[in-house]
Every structure is written in structure tokens, then in C-alpha cells.
């Protein structure tokens, strides 16, 4: 809501500057975003009177104007505007003037003729087309009243007026009119607004001679009031009115339309004016639209209506979309002579839906959908009729058509002083609180700390205790509230085990060199289902903003791969990122997806870069597996995780990927991206892992029981074996363990060799076996016996030859 400082001062005493007002009102009531002036930065723009006009000798459209700008001599200005005429009062930018777009005006020549300034259109002063009066679309602006040549044109145009941008929240729709703003400003400073309501003079025929008005369902239009103004002449509005409109951001059209807008701005009550002659009947009927019923709105667009829309009809055809926009078929035009004015209150939800549905949100609809002051409906209507008659030389028909009406009665809300102090943490006394209610213009009676507050209809947002407490708090001043902390019975603040585990997981990964990324939960339809550990259904949003963010991810890796590409495009080639967040798998037949906590990582390039002292360490499968193993070890799982070859994921290298199995459930994966996928995405060798933390957090943990440090020494034996390449390490270790006997403590692989020095299809592995007897020193014989069993088992079960 653009609030003119000049207009505001007519309604309430304001003794501070617009900037001070902005600050104060923002602190106590409604946020004011800015103070602007249309004429900011403009200078040397004056009123001029065109004394004479002649044709330019070398041009078929330029004119040479002699203009009185209050100087001793007339000023010669060359002008190309088609609407310039001798005798006009116009806007002149003098040499040295600064006009819109920060343009500077200089004395110059146009086709050989000296031009000592410029006659301006309002657009040239910085007016947007949205506020420049329609009548001067094709040329310079012409004042409709005589002004002193040489006087300040910016002042005459109201461009020096400060405009305060009130950011109205949905609850304060009462301030969507100047009167509401005046009440608010008055309450802030303890000044009562002074409004003048001039009586409407009814000199015409009874309004019932013109038409009848009926509302089919009063819940659609609880108040519906009409007046008629006859014998109107359509013309431009006077300057004072135009000024108010453009400073409020509204474009002047003609005297009738302008009055409806002025009244809306003044009272917050949207009005609509119909051309009586075009109604084609003597009847107004407010009803729901029929399915498929057609209406062309004022903007020229055709709409096919439905029964959620409230329409104003002439008894047969719609002539307006109630509260949203008028119909083209009843528009006020230059030939209109009889005007029907509507002032009403419509069902907010229907207005909102209709405006949204047809993309017709307007100043009127946005007010109706937040509600209007029932106390202003007829005040606004009367003032509109009076002003239209005055500005259009017309007569007001006698009486008002009242199809439906709401009696404007104050809302009484009771509240106790104790309650106010209890909620605010204050110790205000009754007199202070009474004073605040009075300052707000509310009726108040108090007895024994109990207030009965009569809230006027203009503050329809207030109906419960909490609303009154807010009014007291803001006028008393939030700065004046004490600062305390809640005093309650004891509460313990602590993270849940899951929260602590997620934090710990993040810390561990950071310690292992991975940087945390946060990518988008919404990914493309395709990405959403990549790398799924267990197949599930897709969940998508109904109206995505882009196809890149249309579905809920079921993996974290797609987003991380996007991040890798983002980095590669910026020449960052060593990347180790992880994300901890949720995935959203959905079971068939359920509408709601599950939400599982996952962690995933993506690594490419070098883990360690080459330095003077260190060789570079490139990422490979085993580096990533080491990270995952470390993370899993921290869970202290009761049963170990198994790594099985993963050959079926289309995005993973079938020979370098593993799935992680825990008690029959797939809880994660590790692998290199599929070379074809890497190539398609422009990625170098890239390794990934992903773990289902929700599943891991649910899994049983191994118990921790203290063990004394061994009292007896451990004995180690090394074994090197040669086996077929197809025999994997897990099988060999399982074989060793099975045959290892009770003293075998650990198996450590310390060498793997494949290549020239070994038979094709074979490989060599070497292990250190560590034996320990907790109760005694192991003898050589004991170890040898155990070791020989392992050797035999390896020979028998995995076809190993001992090297």
C-alpha cells in the first residue's frame, strides 16, 4: 500500500518527517519498507504556458512553440508532440534540468532551430506506463487547470510528495485504505484522525426507478449496496485526484473509474461502476456462475466460468466477476451517462479462488479476500456517488439499493489485566491499559481489572484475547518488555542416540578427509531412482518448478555427482564430498514415502596430492572401502558386514563394485562409476559409497566388556599361497578362520601379487596369522599344529599351493 504523506496529513496530524514516521510505524504497527518520491533527483522542471505555435520550416511534424516559463521573455522550444496546442499549460524542462532516467536537458538546435528546453510527457519525468494517465498516451501532459508559468511543476504534479510503502500483512487489511492508515498512525502518536464525511445530495429519481438488486445467496455477498448517478459527463479527473492516484500507483482513466479507485484507496472498500445503459435490463442479480458460462472481462480476456465463481448478472448474463473484475459488456466509456455503483462484501474464499484461477488478482480482489470493514461499505458508496456527481456534473438518484446488508456493530472482547500481564511478563496497571485501548480508538470499560473492549468494525482482525494482548504490547512498546528466561520445572536437554550418531558419523567422515555437501532432495525423475539399494516406487511433486527438481530422491549420490560435475567445470579435480541426509523410498500401495537417513560419499582425483615430501595418493576402490570400514567399525556391529560383488547396477562398474550385506539386508554399496556412465557424464574415474544409516542404527551392537591386556605373548606365522584368480580374499580368510583353531586371533593380508612372475590365471597372497593363548604361553608345537591345519585346509578347500 503506497501511502501519500500529503494525503495522510489531511486525515491525521503528523508532526514528524516521513522518514521518522516510517521508523516509528515499523516499530509499533506495520512495516514501512521505504519512503520514495516520484520526483526524486529531478530538478528545474517548471510549469509553462504555450503562447504561440508555428510549424518548423524543415520538418513535417515538429512545431516551434513560444512558451511562457515565467521569465522576461518567451522561451522558444521545438516540440514534436502531436497533441501540442497554443494556450496549453504544460510541463517544461529548462536547460540544466534533470528529468527521468537521470537525463540532462541542454539548450540545443533541432534541424537548425534553437530549442531552449523541452516540453515533457509524464513518462519523460519517470512515470511508468502503469501510472501515466491514459488520456496523454500519445503526447505531452497538459494541465487541466491554469497554473502560474515558471512555478514548480514537480509540486503541481505531486511528485515532491513522500510515498510510504506500507507492507500490509494479511491480518492488517484494515490499513489497505488511507483511513485505516490514519487510524494506525493516530494510535501510534496518540492523535485522533479527523475525517470529513460530506453528505450526499440526492436530486435524481428514486433509485428503484432504475433497477432492482438481488443476491441469490447472502453468504456469497453478505452486503450488497448500490447507487445510481445519472446525467454524467465522462472526462478526465482533476489534477488533485490524478495526483493521488499516481502517487498510489494507480493509473488515471476517467472521472468515474478514478473515483472508484480513489474511494478504494481512501476507505479500503473496492467499488465497481457499471454503465447502466449497457446492462440491458433493470435488474442486478448476484449469483453463482453456471458451468461453462462465458464472460469477457475488462482486460479483453474471455473466461469460461464455473459454479465456484460469484458473478454479477443483469438477470440473464454475467456483467462482472464479483469482486475481481468487471465485464467488458458493461464498461464505463466516453459515452456513458448513467452509472451504477456497487459497494459490497463478498465471500473471501470465492474471490480468492476466482482471482487465482483466472490470473486476475487485483487491488480489489486482494482486499475482498482479506475482508472489508462493514462500517465503511455505505460511507464509501455515498462518497463515491457524491464525488461522481460533482466531477461529472451529474445527479445522484434518490436512495440506496440494499440487496443484503450487515449491521456495523462493534465486537466486544473481554480481557483481564492479570491475563495481559501474565502473557506479556509485565506489571502494567489498569490505567495504562485503558489508555492504550483509548489511544487505539476502541471503546473500553474497566472494573476490578476486567476490561470490556468494544472493537470498532474497522478492526475486524480483532476478536480474541490474544489479539488485544498484541495491541497492548505493540503500543506499550516491545522495547519496554523485560528480558527473562522461562522458569519451568526441570527439563533435560540431550541429543537422542540417533541424533548423536548422525553427528558422530559426520565428524568421522570429516576426519577421514571428506567435506560435507548439502545437495537438493528434489532431483530429476531419472536421477531419483539411481543407485537404489532396494527397489522402491518414485514419489514426485505435483507441480515442479523445473524438471531438474521434480522427484524425491531415493539416493544421495545423484546430487553428489552433480556437485562433482560442478567442480570439474571449475577445474577442481580432487574431490572428496559426503552428504548426510534423507532418501524417500516408497512402497507400492502407499502414498507416503519412507524417510531414511543415509550417508553417501563421492571421491575422484587424488586423496593426497603430490608434495615435495609425499607421493600423490589417487582414489581407488580400496581407499573408499577403508573409509567405509572405518565408519562401520564405529558402529560396533554384533554381526560383521559382508561385501559381495555388485554387478547389476547400471551406473556402477560391474567388476569394481560391492554391496554391503547385513543380516540379509543390503545396507550400502561401494564402487566405481560405470566407465560408460563416467564417459557420458564427462567424469574421470569416480568412486562412490552409500550407506543406509537408519538400518545401521537399528542393528544390534556388540557388547563392550573390558578385557585385560594379554599377559602372554602372541606368536605370528606368515603364509604365502598361490590360488586361482577367481578365489576371493573373503573365501580364503573364511577358510583360514574355520581351520584356525581357538588361538587364532587375527588374519592380516600383507601382500597380493598377480603378474609376470606367476602362472597365468593365478595370484599370490600372503597373510600374517597371529595366535594368542590368554591363559598361557603358546608352545611352538601348539602353533605349528594349528598352522598346519590352516595350510591343509587352504590346500584342500581353495586349491592353494603354498609358496
Amino acid at each position: 500500500m503506497n501511502v501519500s504523506y500529503e494525503w495522510l496529513k489531511e486525515l491525521v496530524d503528523v508532526s514528524v518527517s516521513p522518514e521518522e514516521l516510517m521508523d516509528k510505524v515499523s516499530r509499533t504497527g506495520i512495516e514501512v519498507d521505504s519512503v520514495t518520491r516520484l520526483g526524486e533527483g529531478l530538478k528545474k522542471v517548471v510549469v509553462g504556458k504555450v503562447a504561440s505555435l508555428r510549424d518548423h520550416p524543415d520538418s513535417d511534424h515538429l512545431k516551434i512553440a513560444m512558451v511562457d516559463t515565467g521569465d522576461d521573455e518567451l522561451r522558444q522550444i521545438v516540440c514534436g508532440a502531436p497533441n501540442i496546442e497554443a494556450g496549453q499549460t504544460v510541463v517544461v524542462a529548462l536547460p540544466g534540468a534533470r528529468i527521468g532516467g537521470n537525463e540532462k536537458i541542454k539548450r540545443g538546435k533541432m534541424r537548425g532551430v534553437v530549442s531552449d528546453g523541452m516540453i515533457c510527457a509524464l513518462q519523460e519525468l519517470g512515470f511508468s506506463d502503469a501510472i501515466a494517465p491514459k488520456s496523454f498516451d500519445a503526447g505531452i501532459y497538459v494541465f487541466d487547470e491554469p497554473l502560474t508559468p515558471g512555478s514548480d511543476a514537480l509540486a503541481a504534479l505531486g511528485m515532491d510528495d513522500a510515498v510510504l510503502d506500507f507492507e500490509i500483512t494479511p491480518n492488517r487489511a484494515d490499513a489497505l485504505g488511507m483511513r485505516g492508515v490514519a487510524w494506525e498512525v493516530g494510535a501510534t502518536y496518540g492523535n485522533k484522525p479527523h475525517f470529513t464525511d460530506q453528505p450526499v445530495t440526492e436530486t435524481g429519481k428514486p433509485v428503484s426507478d432504475y433497477l432492482t438488486a438481488t443476491v441469490a445467496d447472502p453468504t456469497d455477498a453478505p452486503a450488497y449496496q448500490m447507487r445510481v448517478v445519472d446525467n454524467i459527463t465522462i472526462k478526465d479527473s482533476p489534477l488533485w485526484l490524478q495526483r493521488r492516484l499516481w502517487n498510489a500507483g494507480v493509473r488515471p482513466i476517467n472521472n468515474i473509474v478514478d473515483v472508484t479507485n480513489l474511494i478504494m484507496l481512501g476507505y479500503g472498500q473496492p467499488l465497481h461502476a457499471f454503465d447502466y445503459a449497457k446492462l440491458g435490463s433493470q435488474e442486478i442479480l448476484v449469483r453463482r456462475a453456471k458451468a461453462g458460462e462465458a464472460l469477457t472481462t475488462l482486460d479483453g480476456n474471455d473466461h469460461e466460468l464455473d459454479p465456484d465463481d460469484i458473478v454479477i448478472t443483469n438477470g440473464q448474463q454475467p456483467v462482472a466477476l464479483a469482486g475481481v473484475m468487471g465485464g467488458l459488456n458493461s464498461e464505463i466509456t466516453a459515452t456513458t451517462t448513467t452509472v451504477v455503483i456497487e459497494s459490497a462484501m463478498f465471500a473471501p474464499t470465492n474471490i480468492r479462488k476466482t482471482a487465482l484461477k483466472y490470473n486476475l488478482r487485483s487491488q480489489a480482489s486482494s482486499r475482498f479476500e482479506k475482508g472489508v470493514d462493514v462500517g465503511s461499505i455505505n460511507l464509501a458508496l455515498d462518497e463515491a456517488a457524491r464525488l461522481m456527481a460533482e466531477l461529472g456534473d451529474g445527479t445522484v438518484a434518490t436512495g440506496t439499493l440494499s440487496a443484503t446488508a450487515v449491521k456495523p456493530e462493534p465486537t466486544v472482547v473481554d480481557i483481564s489485566l492479570d491475563r495481559i500481564n501474565h502473557v506479556l511478563g509485565t506489571s502494567l496497571d489498569a490505567a495504562t491499559v485503558t489508555g492504550i485501548f483509548e489511544q487505539l480508538g476502541f471503546g473500553v470499560t474497566e472494573a476490578d481489572g476486567l476490561f470490556a473492549v468494544a472493537v470498532p468494525t474497522r478492526r475486524w482482525d480483532i476478536h480474541i484475547e490474544a489479539d488485544l494482548i498484541e495491541e497492548v504490547a505493540r503500543i506499550y512498546g516491545y522495547d519496554n518488555l523485560p528480558n527473562t528466561l522461562p522458569t519451568t520445572t526441570m527439563t533435560i536437554g540431550a541429543f537422542t542416540p540417533q541424533q548423536a550418531r548422525l553427528r558422530r558419523t559426520r565428524r568421522l567422515l570429516e576426519g577421514l578427509g571428506l567435506t560435507q555437501a548439502i545437495t537438493y532432495s528434489l532431483v530429476s525423475d531419472e536421477q531419483a531412482g539411481w543407485f537404489e539399494l532396494t527397489p522402491s516406487e518414485q514419489t514426485a511433486v505435483a507441480f515442479p518448478m523445473t524438471t531438474d527438481h521434480s522427484a524425491l530422491r531415493r539416493n544421495l549420490l545423484a546430487g553428489l555427482i552433480d556437485a562433482v560435475q560442478y567442480n570439474l567445470a571449475r577445474k577442481q579435480t580432487d574431490i572428496a564430498l559426503y552428504e548426510q541426509g534423507r532418501v524417500f523410498p516408497r512402497s507400492a500401495g502407499h502414498s507416503r514415502p519412507e524417510e531414511n537417513e543415509y550417508v553417501a560419499g563421492v571421491l575422484t582425483g587424488n586423496l593426497l596430492s603430490k608434495t615435495w615430501h609425499q607421493a600423490a595418493q589417487a582414489v581407488d576402490f580400496y581407499a573408499v572401502k577403508g573409509i567405509v570400514a572405518h565408519l562401520l567399525a564405529d558402529f560396533r556391529l554384533a554381526t560383521p558386514v559382508q561385501y559381495l560383488p555388485l554387478t547389476t547396477d547400471a551406473h556402477l562398474h560391474p567388476g569394481q563394485s560391492a554391496k554391503l550385506m547385513l543380516g540379509g539386508e543390503t545396507i550400502g554399496l561401494i564402487g566405481r562409476l560405470h566407465p560408460a556412465f563416467e564417459q557420458a557424464e564427462g567424469l574421470p574415474a569416480t568412486y562412490v559409497f552409500e550407506l543406509n544409516l537408519s538400518a545401521l542404527m537399528k542393528t544390534d551392537r556388540a557388547e563392550v566388556l573390558a578385557q585385560p591386556a594379554p599377559k602372554f605373548p602372541a606368536v605370528t606365522r606368515d603364509i604365502a599361497i598361490q590360488v586361482a584368480k577367481t578365489v576371493d580374499n573373503a573365501t580364503i580368510e573364511a577358510t583360514i578362520r574355520a581351520a584356525g583353531g581357538k588361538y587364532l586371533q587375527s588374519i592380516t593380508l600383507f601382500d597380493v601379487y598377480e603378474g609376470a612372475h606367476i602362472a597365468p590365471g593365478q595370484k599370490s597372497l600372503a597373510y600374517t596369522l597371529t595366535y594368542l593363548n590368554e591363559a598361557a604361553t603358546l608352545t611352538d608345537e601348539q602353533v605349528t599344529t594349528a598352522f598346519d591345519k590352516v595350510v591343509a585346509a587352504l590346500q584342500e578347500h581353495v586349491g592353494a599351493s603354498i609358496r
Binding site: E31, P170, D467, Y478, I492, G493, E510, H613
Partner: protein, 348 residues
């Protein structure tokens, strides 16, 4: 020469010799040859049998004295040689300590995570619980329970990603509060909670808008919770996050789930309140929204609004981070540029 003179001569001669010994091997040889059983001192002492018996102890004593002196000389020389050797070794082993150390790679927590962790720890310290809730939420909890019925104009303020008519991507973390409020047993004590997490709105991503961002919302409900408690809590939070000298101010605002509702400004942490580009020369920066819980919200959750009441607040970690670190593009948080992410080494 008498024995005494010979001993003195031996001493003087060998002291010179010892002084010129240049390594430990030589020193050992000298020691053996000088003090051994076949050494010159022993040789001299053999001549004692020609002395008068009363002279013998004197000479013997003198000889031992000379021997001790020479031993001391040898010991001294050994120490000097060893010191020189160590010195030489140290010189050889001296390195350039200004060469860079080995790279130890540690990752960095995301700056949004750091802010959330910080705020969470602050409230844990104040006896709050941290409660997580679903990101896919029901319309019922995201809106209806929070006093935002269907077709309420406030729904315009947040355009929401719907999945179907009932399910949506939560547009705020307050539904977690509604869920918790509904379940909380007030006979067991007050409710003091915060709910952090991701939220989603139908916005076109640009420098200042993101369809995904984060929120932390707090809720305290008990029998005697006041707006002054809200103000004190937020002041403590602002001072924790933005510095101990910060002040706050409350301005009236509107949120459907609180009444009164306020927006909260913190005094500018760049300029201290005198005015700068960060605070747009106002000295204040808007950092969060808050208010006293609307009775409709309590009633909807089955809590007696005549007995219980309290406050709620919400803040945006994305906004906090942008303000605190001068980040001008919200998309930076979600693009994963390692240079951006790694600059925020953890504080404190």
C-alpha cells in the same frame, strides 16, 4: 732423574699428547697404553723397589695422583670429543623447518550444518530437546494444525510443493511442533523443543531464493511462559550466535500460528549499529520471526489454551550464514563447490 721427576715428565708429555687426540679410537689406545699394566707409569713404579721404604708411600701417592690427573685429562678429552661428534651429527642432521609439513586431509562441515549444530547445542544447554520430523508432511500438520486453514490468505505467503491433495514437502519445520504438542504429556512437565531441518517452497532458484532451505523452529509451552521470556531467550540466542554485544528489537508482524507475532532484528554485527551496507544503514538486521503461540494452535493439539501457553520462534540458518559471512548467493550452499565449502573451518 728421580722417580718423581720422571712421573712429572710423563705427565707433562702425555697431557700434551692427550690434548691432541682427535678421535675416540685414538683416545682408547692412548688410555690403554698409558694407564695399562705395561704402560709407562707402571714402568716407573717398578723403580720403587730401589727407594727407601719410607719414601715409597710418598712416591706411590704421587704416582696415583699423576695417574688420576691423566685419567681426568682423558675423561675431559673424551667428553670434548663426544660433544664435537654430536655437534657434527646435529649439523649434518639439520633440516629446513620452514619446508611444508605433510598434508593431512580433513574435511569441513557444511556452514549450514555448523550453524544448526551451534544453535542446537545452545538450546540443548537451555534444557530443550531437539526433535526431528518428516520432510514429507501432511497438509493437516503443515497448515491446518497451525491455524492456516485451506484458503487462508496466509497460504499465499508460502507456495508449497504438493505431492497429492494431502501430502506435501513441508514448507516449514513447525509441523514438527504441532506433532510434538499433540503427543506431549504436560503432567510430566513443560515442552521445550527446537526442530531443525530442511524445508521446501515453490520458488525459482536465484541469488536470494531457493526451493530448498533450512529452518530451526522453537517452541516452549508451560503454565507460565511470558513474552518477556521469549524476548530474553532470543536475546541470549542472538548474543550467542552474533556476539555478546548484540541487542535485539521486536517489531509487530503476522504469522497465523502466533498472536502477538513479531519480527526480530539484531543490532548489526558488522558495524555495531552505526549503519553500514550489510544493515542497509539502519543499524539493524532482521533475523527471525517469533510470537506467543496462538490459542487455536494449542486447542487444535488438544492443549487447554486457558491453562497452557508459550512462545514459538523460527530462524533460517541459510539467512544467518548469508548475513554472518557476507554470502550473496544462496545457491552456493547447494552447489557443492569445494572451494566454497572448505573455507568455513569450524570455529570455537
Amino acid at each position: 732423574m728421580d722417580l718423581k721427576s720422571r712421573l712429572e715428565a710423563l705427565r707433562d708429555e702425555n697431557q700434551q699428547k692427550i690434548h691432541h687426540i682427535s678421535d675416540l679410537d685414538e683416545l682408547n689406545q692412548v688410555r690403554v697404553s698409558l694407564l695399562g699394566k705395561k704402560g709407562p707409569i707402571t714402568e716407573v713404579l717398578r723403580g720403587m723397589r730401589d727407594l727407601a721404604p719410607e719414601e715409597r708411600p710418598k712416591v706411590g701417592e704421587f704416582a696415583n695422583q699423576i695417574k688420576a690427573e691423566l685419567q681426568a685429562n682423558l675423561q675431559e678429552r673424551r667428553a670434548a670429543l663426544e660433544a664435537a661428534m654430536i655437534q657434527k651429527r646435529l649439523e649434518q642432521e639439520t633440516i629446513d623447518v620452514t619446508l611444508p609439513g605433510d598434508e593431512v586431509v580433513a574435511g569441513t562441515p557444511h556452514i549450514l550444518q555448523q550453524i544448526m549444530d551451534d544453535v542446537e547445542e545452545f538450546f540443548i544447554g537451555q534444557g530443550y530437546q531437539v526433535i526431528d520430523g518428516p520432510e514429507v508432511e501432511e497438509d493437516h500438520y503443515n497448515f491446518e494444525m497451525l491455524n492456516i486453514p485451506k484458503d487462508h490468505p496466509a497460504r499465499d505467503m508460502q507456495d508449497t510443493f504438493y505431492i497429492d491433495s494431502q501430502l506435501l514437502m513441508r514448507s516449514q519445520t513447525s509441523p514438527v511442533q504441532a506433532r510434538t504438542l499433540e503427543k506431549h504429556d504436560f503432567s510430566k512437565g513443560p515442552l521445550k523443543m527446537i526442530s531443525p531441518g530442511r524445508v521446501y517452497r515453490r520458488d525459482t532458484d536465484d541469488a536470494t531464493h531457493s526451493h530448498q532451505f533450512h529452518q530451526i523452529e522453537g517452541l516452549v509451552i508451560d503454565r507460565h511462559i511470558t513474552m518477556a521470556d521469549l524476548k530474553g531467550t532470543l536475546l541470549a540466542l542472538a548474543q550467542h550466535v552474533f556476539g555478546a554485544e548484540r541487542k535485539i528489537r521486536l517489531r509487530p508482524s503476522f504469522f497465523p500460528f502466533t498472536e502477538p507475532s513479531v519480527e526480530v532484528d539484531v543490532s548489526c554485527f558488522r558495524c555495531g549499529g552505526v549503519g553500514c551496507a550489510i544493515c542497509k544503514y539502519s543499524g539493524w538486521i532482521e533475523v527471525l520471526g517469533a510470537g506467543m503461540v496462538h490459542p487455536n494452535v494449542l486447542t487444535a493439539a488438544g492443549v487447554d489454551a486457558d491453562v497452557y501457553g508459550g512462545f514459538a520462534f523460527g530462524l533460517g540458518p541459510d539467512r544467518f550464514a548469508m548475513l554472518k559471512y557476507g554470502i550473496d548467493d544462496i545457491r552456493s550452499f547447494y552447489q557443492g563447490d569445494v572451494r566454497f565449502l572448505r573455507q568455513f573451518q569450524q570455529e570455537g
